[in-house]
C-alpha cells in the first residue's frame, strides 16, 4: 500500500517524541543542570533530549582536550616562580601557523644567553590549536589549556597574549591533566635522578682515581 513507508517514518518520530518525555520523568528533574544528568545524556544509552543548555550547563572536557597553549612555571619553597621555558624555540619552529614569538635576552655582564624568555607572545587569533608546541616541547614548559571561553571586547589589544597572560602554575596543569602530569613528572624525576647519578659518578671518578694507588 502506498504510504506505508511514510507511516513507518512517522512511527519513528513518534517514538522519539515520547522518549523525550519518558526519560525526563524517569530522572525526576535530575536530568538537567546536574553533572550526572549531563553524563547520562552523553552516554551511549541516551534517549530523548540530547542537547546541552550552554552556558548554564557545560560539557565536561576530556583530559586530552586542547585549546590555546599556556606556559608553565614551578614555584619553589620560597614562593619564587621559575619558568620552565628555556626559550629554545622548538615550539616557535614547529608551530604550523607561526603564531609564537619568543624574545630572548643575554646576561649584561657575562654576555651569555639567559634561558628564561624575556617575553613570549602567542597570537591567539592565528593559533590553530594543533597542540604541536605542547607535544614537542622537551621541557614540558608549554601545554594546551582547557579554557575555551576567550571572548573579549577588543581583538586588537587583547588577542596577542604575552608571557604574563600565558603563564600558569604547574599546579593548574596538574589539576586539568592529572594523568599526563603524573606520567610526565615521573619521567622528569627519573631523568633528574639519572643526571644526579651521572654527576655523582663523575664526581666520584676523579676522587676514586685520586684515591686509587698509582699503578706501578
Amino acid at each position: 500500500m502506498y504510504g506505508i513507508g511514510v507511516l513507518k517514518g512517522l512511527w519513528v518520530t513518534l517514538v522519539h517524541f515520547f522518549e523525550s518525555f519518558a526519560d525526563d520523568i524517569r530522572w525526576g528533574g535530575k536530568r538537567y543542570y546536574t553533572a550526572e544528568g549531563i553524563q547520562h545524556r552523553r552516554s551511549s544509552d541516551t534517549k530523548g533530549i540530547f542537547t546541552v543548555q550552554y552556558p548554564e550547563e557545560k560539557l565536561p572536557v576530556p583530559e586530552e582536550f586542547r585549546f590555546i597553549p599556556f606556559l608553565l612555571y614551578d614555584v619553589d619553597e620560597n614562593g619564587n616562580a621559575h619558568d620552565r621555558c628555556t626559550s629554545c624555540g622548538i615550539c616557535a619552529k614547529v608551530c604550523p601557523p607561526q603564531c609564537i614569538w619568543i624574545v630572548r635576552t643575554e646576561d649584561p655582564t657575562t654576555k651569555r644567553p639567559v634561558p628564561e624568555p624575556v617575553e613570549f607572545y602567542i597570537d591567539v587569533d592565528i593559533c590553530m590549536n594543533c597542540g604541536y608546541c605542547a607535544e614537542y616541547c622537551p621541557f614540558d614548559a608549554i601545554k594546551m589549556d582547557h579554557d575555551y571561553e576567550l571572548a573579549s571586547f577588543d581583538r586588537h589589544a587583547e588577542h596577542i597574549y604575552n608571557k604574563e597572560k600565558l603563564s600558569k602554575p604547574t599546579s593548574y596543569y596538574a589539576g586539568i591533566r592529572p594523568t599526563n602530569y603524573t606520567r610526565e613528572e615521573k619521567v622528569r624525576a627519573d631523568e633528574e635522578a639519572k643526571k644526579a647519578a651521572g654527576a655523582a659518578a663523575r664526581a666520584a671518578t676523579p676522587a676514586a682515581a685520586a684515591a686509587a694507588p698509582p699503578a706501578e
Binding site: 576530556p62 617575553e119 597542540g131 604541536y132 594523568t179
Partner: protein, 617 residues
C-alpha cells in the same frame, strides 16, 4: 580568452628551456639523471621516440613528449585499460640560478577501474610557454583538474573548451602556485620564520600590510573602473553547452544562479543553471569562494606542519585526511617509517569512525535537501556527536583531530576509550542505523524524489573520475581499500558496497550500506587490536624526507583522497597536491542535472556530498 592577464612571474628569472631536461640545481629537486634504466616500460616499447623512462631517482613512470601525449593517453586508456584518471596535477621545477634549467611538469596518475596499481606519466614543457594538449575528450574527468592547473600554474591546455580560472577569480594577477609568485603578507620562502625565533619581533600581520594594500592587480588594470569579464564568459560557455540541447519549439531560456549564498549548496558554492522552462539545459559549477591556496601554504610549511592543515580540507572527516597524508609521506620515507601494529589498528578504527560520522552527516543533510527539514539530520548527527566525543577524548579536538604522525599516531588511546568505541559499534550504532533505515529507506517521498533522478551510468562515472559513493552507486565496485589496499585493510572481512542504478536514491542507499560495512570492520579491528608501541622510532619535530615523489591515496568517506608530494630532500615539501574527492566529483554534476527539473539540482548536489573546504582548498 584568459590570456590578456600578463604573467609577470614568468619573465626575468626563467631561462628558456627548449629541451626540458631535469638538471640538478639549488632549488629544484631534480637530481642528475642516472644511467642504466633497468627495463623498458610498456609505453616505451610502444612509443620509442616519444616516451622515456623518468630517470630521476625517487621518480616513477615515463616522460611523454607533449605532441604525442594524446596518442599515448588514447593507447593507455584503450589498450592498457587504465580507464580511471585519478589525478592530474602540475609541478613547477623552477630554479633562479643562472644556468639551471626550469620547466613545468604535468603529472598524470591513472588506475584501472578493476583494481591494481598505478600508471604514471608526465609531460615536461618550458615555463614561459607552457602548453599541453588537453585530455578532456579522452578522460572527461580531466576537466576541472586541467582548469585548476591552468589557474594555479598558467599551463594552457590546448583543446579544452572551457579553460577559465576555477579557484582564483578572472583578472587575478599571475598564477599563484608558481614558485616565483609571492602572496600578500609574504614573509619568507619557507617556515619556520626567523622573526618568530630567534628574533622575536611580535606584530599584528594586518598592521604590516593594511587592508586594501594587499592586492596586486595585472598591469594596466584599474580596480575602480574594471568591468566584469568572468561572468559573461561563464554565461557564454553555458549557452554554448546549451546549444547541444535542441527542441522543436523555440523557447526562451533563462539563467538562474543558485548560490553562492544558498541553503542548498552546503557552503559558498554557486551553480549557474540555464533553464528551459523548469528543465535544465546546462549547468556550470562556480567555486573558489573559500579558496585559501592550501597547496601553497603546504609548500611553505615543513612536512609535519601540514598535518593539522589537512584537517581543514574536508573538515568533517579530518582523520581520513590525516591518513592520506601520512601514507603519502611514509611511502616516500620508506620502511623505516612503517607504523607499528597497534598504530595501524588505531588508524583503521579512527578512519572508519570518521566514515560513520561523515555518512551520518551526509544522509541527514541529503534529507534536508529533500525537504525533510532537520528532523532526520538531527537524528543522524546525534550519533555523530557520540563519535566526536571519542575523537575529543583521544585527540583533544572534535573535528580538527591532527592525530596521525609519520610512523604512527600522536598518542595512545586513553583509558576507557576503547570500551566506549566497543559499546558504540556493538550496541548503539547498529540499532540506530536500523532505525534510520526504517525511518527513511521505504519512505515514498524519498523514493519518488530519488529514484531515477540524476542517473550516472558506470561508463560516465569512470570517465568523469567520480570516486567513492558516487562511483559505487553507479555499479562500479571500486573501493581503494580493496582495489589497491593500504595500511591493514587487506586483513578485514568486509564487502565493497555497490548499487546499480546510479541515481540519487542509490547514492543514499550506498551510504547506509557503507555504514554497516564500516561497523563490520570496526568490530573486527576492536577485537584484533594488539598492545605495544604506537610510534616507530621517535617523533621528531623536524623530519627530512628523501628526494623523490609519491602519490598516496586512501578511500575517504567522500571518495578517493590522494596526496601527490614531491620532496627535494629538505625540510619542506617541494610540491604538495591534494586530489580532493569533493572537487573532482563535481565534474559529473552537469551530467547528472541536464534534462532534469531545477528542483532536482539541489538533491543531486546533496547526493554527491561535498564539503567546500575540500572543493576550494
Amino acid at each position: 580568452m584568459t590570456d590578456q592577464t600578463p604573467k609577470p612571474d614568468s619573465s626575468a628569472t626563467t631561462p628558456a628551456a627548449p629541451t626540458p631536461k631535469p638538471e640538478s640545481s639549488a632549488t629544484a629537486p631534480a637530481a642528475p639523471p642516472q644511467a642504466a634504466p633497468v627495463e623498458k616500460s610498456e609505453l616505451e616499447k610502444k612509443f620509442p621516440d616519444a616516451v622515456k623512462r623518468d630517470a630521476r631517482p625517487g621518480y616513477e613512470g615515463d616522460v611523454v613528449s607533449a605532441d604525442k601525449l594524446r596518442d599515448v593517453a588514447m593507447y593507455v586508456r584503450d589498450d592498457l585499460d587504465y580507464d580511471f584518471l585519478s589525478s592530474l596535477t602540475a609541478v613547477d621545477y623552477f630554479s633562479d640560478l643562472p644556468n639551471a634549467a626550469s620547466h613545468m611538469e604535468v603529472v598524470y596518475h591513472l588506475y584501472k577501474s578493476t583494481g591494481g596499481g598505478s600508471l604514471v606519466f608526465r609531460v615536461q614543457v618550458p615555463r614561459d610557454n607552457a602548453v599541453v594538449p588537453s585530455l578532456i575528450d579522452i578522460y572527461p574527468g580531466a576537466d576541472f583538474q586541467e582548469r585548476e592547473a591552468w589557474d594555479l600554474y598558467g599551463i594552457r591546455f590546448d583543446g579544452h573548451p572551457d579553460l577559465r580560472r576555477i579557484l582564483m577569480w578572472e583578472g587575478f594577477a599571475g598564477h599563484p602556485m608558481r614558485k616565483d609568485w609571492k602572496e600578500a603578507y609574504f614573509e619568507e620562502e619557507l617556515k619556520p620564520y626567523k622573526n618568530r625565533w630567534p628574533e622575536g619581533q611580535v606584530y599584528r600581520i594586518e598592521d604590516r600590510n593594511p587592508y586594501g594594500k594587499n592586492n596586486k592587480y595585472p598591469q594596466g588594470l584599474n580596480p575602480e573602473t574594471v568591468t566584469e569579464t568572468a561572468d559573461p564568459l561563464l554565461y557564454e560557455n553555458l549557452e554554448k553547452a546549451a546549444r547541444e540541447y535542441s527542441e522543436d519549439i523555440d523557447t526562451e531560456q533563462v539563467v538562474v544562479n543558485l548560490g553562492p549564498q544558498h541553503p542548498s549548496t552546503h557552503g559558498v558554492f554557486r551553480m549557474a543553471v540555464r533553464l528551459d522552462g523548469e528543465t535544465i539545459v546546462a549547468l556550470k559549477p562556480v567555486m573558489g569562494y573559500l579558496h585559501r591556496n592550501h597547496e601553497k601554504i603546504g609548500e611553505r610549511n615543513t612536512w609535519i606542519m601540514n598535518m593539522p592543515f589537512t584537517d581543514r580540507l574536508d573538515y568533517l572527516s579530518s582523520m581520513s585526511n590525516n591518513f592520506g597524508y601520512a601514507i603519502a609521506v611514509e611511502k616516500l620515507m620508506g620502511p623505516k617509517a612503517a607504523p607499528p601494529e597497534r598504530a595501524e589498528y588505531i588508524r583503521v578504527i579512527m578512519a572508519e569512525l570518521t566514515r560513520l560520522s561523515n555518512h551520518l552527516w551526509a544522509i541527514g543533510f541529503l534529507l534536508n535537501d529533500l525537504g525533510a527539514f532537520f528532523t532526520p539530520a538531527l537524528y543522524a548527527i546525534t550519533e555523530r556527536e557520540l563519535i566526536l566525543d571519542i575523537f575529543e577524548a583521544t585527540t583533544g579536538s572534535r573535528m580538527m583531530c591532527n592525530y596521525f604522525r609519520f610512523g604512527g599516531v600522536a598518542r595512545d588511546l586513553p583509558a576507557g576509550v576503547l570500551e566506549k568505541i566497543k559499546d558504540l559499534v556493538h550496541e548503539r550504532l547498529p540499532r540506530k542505523i536500523d532505525e534510520l533505515d526504517l525511518y527513511l529507506t521505504e519512505n515514498e517521498l524519498v523514493r519518488s524524489r530519488g529514484e531515477g533522478v540524476g542517473v550516472i551510468t558506470p561508463e560516465q562515472a569512470i570517465a568523469y573520475s567520480a570516486a567513492g559513493p558516487v562511483l559505487r552507486a553507479s555499479g562500479v565496485p571500486y573501493d581503494v581499500r580493496r582495489a589497491d589496499p593500504y595500511s591493514i585493510y587487506d586483513r578485514f572481512d568486509f564487502d565493497v558496497a555497490v548499487r546499480y542504478h546510479g541515481d540519487v536514491y542509490d547514492r543514499y542507499m550506498i551510504r547506509i550500506d557503507e555504514l554497516r560495512q564500516s561497523l563490520r570492520i570496526l568490530q573486527q579491528a576492536i577485537k584484533g587490536i594488539p598492545g605495544g608501541e604506537i610510534m616507530t622510532g621517535k617523533n621528531p619535530y623536524q623530519i627530512r624526507v628523501p628526494a623523490g615523489e609519491a602519490y598516496g591515496r586512501v578511500e575517504g568517506p567522500k571518495g578517493e583522497l590522494g596526496y601527490y608530494i614531491v620532496s627535494n630532500g629538505k625540510a619542506n615539501p617541494y610540491r604538495y597536491h591534494v586530489r580532493a574527492p569533493s572537487f573532482i566529483n563535481l565534474t559529473v554534476l552537469e551530467k547528472m542535472c541536464v534534462g532534469q527539473k531545477v528542483a532536482d539540482v539541489v538533491v543531486n548536489l546533496g547526493s554527491i556530498d561535498i564539503v567546500l573546504g575540500e572543493v576550494d582548498r
